[in-house]
Amino acid sequence: MASTLETRQTVEEVAGDYKYGFVSDIETVKAPKGLNEGVIRFISAKKEEPEWLLDWRLKAYKKWLKMEEPDWAMLSYHKPDFQDIYYYAAPKSADDRPKSLDEVDPELLRVYEKLGISLQEQEVLSGVAVDIVFDSVSVATTFRETLKEKGVIFCSISEAARDYPELMKKYLGSVVPVADNFYAALNSAVFTDGTFVYIPKGVRCPMELSTYFRINEANTGQFERTIIIADDDSYVSYLEGCTAPMRDENQLHAAVVEIVVLENAEVKYSTVQNWYPGDKDGKGGIYNFVTKRAACRGTNSKVSWTQVETGSAVTWKYPSCILQGDGSVGEFYSVAITNNYQQADTGTKMIHIGKNTSSTIISKGISAGKAQNIYRGLVKVMPNAENTRNFTQCDSLLIGDECGAHTVPYIEAKNPTAQLEHEATTSKISDEQLFYCLQRGLDVEQSVTLIVNGFCKEVMQQLPMEFAVEAQKLLGISLEGSVG
């Protein structure tokens, strides 16, 4: 792909500013600041939820109250003040929900255009169905009719609670239990929207499904919940992109993603995370505390996580695979870039339970400025998991001499037939590499982008085409000013 020059040009256009750092002036409805039972009831009522879901939320809230914020990650940040956050903010016009794009607030549509995701254009050109979560509600879901013909459910989680209560009851919290961890419990109590996907038996989803998240309101947290169920012999590729405006205060994003993969089914989940990373001095930026987990329940099921993490001030995220079905496969491909004062503690967990299960972990961490980048991963082989295979490769690239890269692999093998491999490298962009590129005519930023894209290639090529180009551009933008 002729990526690098395009990348450079985009970088130049953007000229150092966070491209998505505009604030949209849209009237919103908010819940009162802070968190208590009343707020949870407010959210549940706003979403016209059934009684069982409110009870579920309240149960989660009670558990959360007793939990402590985890501190084992190699991260240092000011703990969020949970009473200083709005837990619900919705565009006012959503009170009478739009039935088609024509009814969507034009101001909102302009926002999407700025984001480069004009819905009309996408509907016509790209064949990507997009569910857009703007602060707390899903504004518009495209392509739903086309999907419906195949029996694919692709809707907001609130709609799913209303329209598909049986599926919701069965799967909500079934992969990430209510009290799994501090932020998952918080999410369970206050999640405001997210996406629900169900692929019926034998269906290969005819298009990539995509959600675009954006935090707009000041002082709002975003707590979306995503559930993807791939029934027997089905396939779906799901894309998730994130941006947030530039603000001086830190904003909290605590999402939960649950994926269930049944017999012979496959789910590919790709994320390009570009939340606002804070400024050059480490002021502001998103706290990205996310729980993502997939359960490969069926025989020969497969899940593949691909993530490109370029944004957020602090990232705390371990997309994991529970390989329960015999012969199930888990994959984790990750690029995490940290620049300036960004911190990322990210990795995966591969829990091998079934026989003949295998997993692959490819992690590429890039650190520049004064940033810290930590890979933390667990490969666990349970006693009955005969013939487990895992291959782990963790590569770190350092740019400059004030940043850090750390690799923290945990391996627990309780079955002697397991074959586990771990490779790790740490390298720097050498003066020789840089000079070589410069001597051939590339400027410094182009050279860094090229070298970094090369370093990440194994992961980048896992991304669907729609995302790959954007992701390559992001690498360049994220590393601006890191050399020279």
Partner: protein
């Protein structure tokens, strides 16, 4: 074309070049020979603007422009190419991608349009064929897993593609067997033109059997101590540097 006057260069606080003078005109091929540590590679890096090579005195002009004012990539844009003694590996970046990005950067610097992808492929395949490079090598990551000879051949393909006005070849012949040497020499000879110039830095006179220079200079202890024609290289081969009264260990 290139005019170097009284060039002093320090590396890590140590003076390596100590008042070097050299003038190269269009159409000429110059060879610089000299013992280890004489400053041959330092000269090539100083011309091309590598970081860490501090110019403490002197001037370098290229077609009337003050080269020392320009960044390394701008010097490349002006038409200067350096074939490295140890070509660098760039994992994950294909030769094709690298060269397309490089060529387009140079074109942009010169105010030209980007080359169309199809035209680029035609061009690079033709250059690879001229230098007998397997086209599959173009798809591989830059220099990764290449043998010594393949790396040097790759440098020649890059040079042929980027079509510089002035090429500096820093010990491009070292470590090559006779077939590889012939290909490298062929690559260099293809760059000979009344409008271009070449500076060959070498340890051995054997390359000069294939690339016959117009001028031969001997660099020792940071200065050019003797200049002549092709016969100087032959004399060096026979008598060694000591035959010229140069103490090799002093350098």
């Amino acid at each position: 074309m290139l005019e170097i006057k009284n060039l002093h260069v320090e590396v890590g606080g140590k003076e390596i070049l100590k008042g070097l003078n050299l003038t190269i005109n269009s159409g000429e091929v110059h060879a610089i020979m000299g013992p280890n540590g004489a400053g041959k590679s330092t000269l090539s890096y100083a011309i091309c603007g590598k970081d860490g090579y501090e110019i403490t005195d002197g001037t370098v002009t290229f077609n009337g422009k003050d080269l020392l004012e320009l960044e390394a990539n701008e010097r490349a844009g002006e038409g200067i190419f350096l074939g490295l003694q140890y070509p660098v590996e760039i994992p994950g970046v294909s030769n094709l991608n690298f060269l397309k990005a490089a060529l387009n950067s140079l074109r942009k610097y010169r105010g030209e349009e980007e080359i169309a992808a199809v035209d680029f492929l035609k061009l690079i395949r033709a250059k690879a064929a001229e230098l007998e490079m397997d086209p599959e090598m173009l798809k591989r990551a830059v220099n990764v897993g290449f043998s010594g000879g393949e790396k040097k051949r790759n440098e020649m393909v890059q040079m042929a593609l980027l079509d510089p006005i002035f090429s500096v070849l820093d010990e491009t012949d070292s470590g090559l067997d006779i077939d590889a040497l012939r290909i490298v020499a062929d690559g260099i000879n293809r760059m000979r033109s009344p409008k271009k110039a070449i500076l060959v830095i070498t340890h051995y006179q054997r390359l000069l059997d294939y690339v016959v220079p117009d001028f031969v200079h001997v660099l020792a202890d940071g200065k050019i101590v003797k200049s002549g024609d092709k016969s100087l290289a032959i004399k060096l081969e026979q008598d060694g540097y000591s035959g010229l009264g140069i103490n090799e260990t002093a350098a």
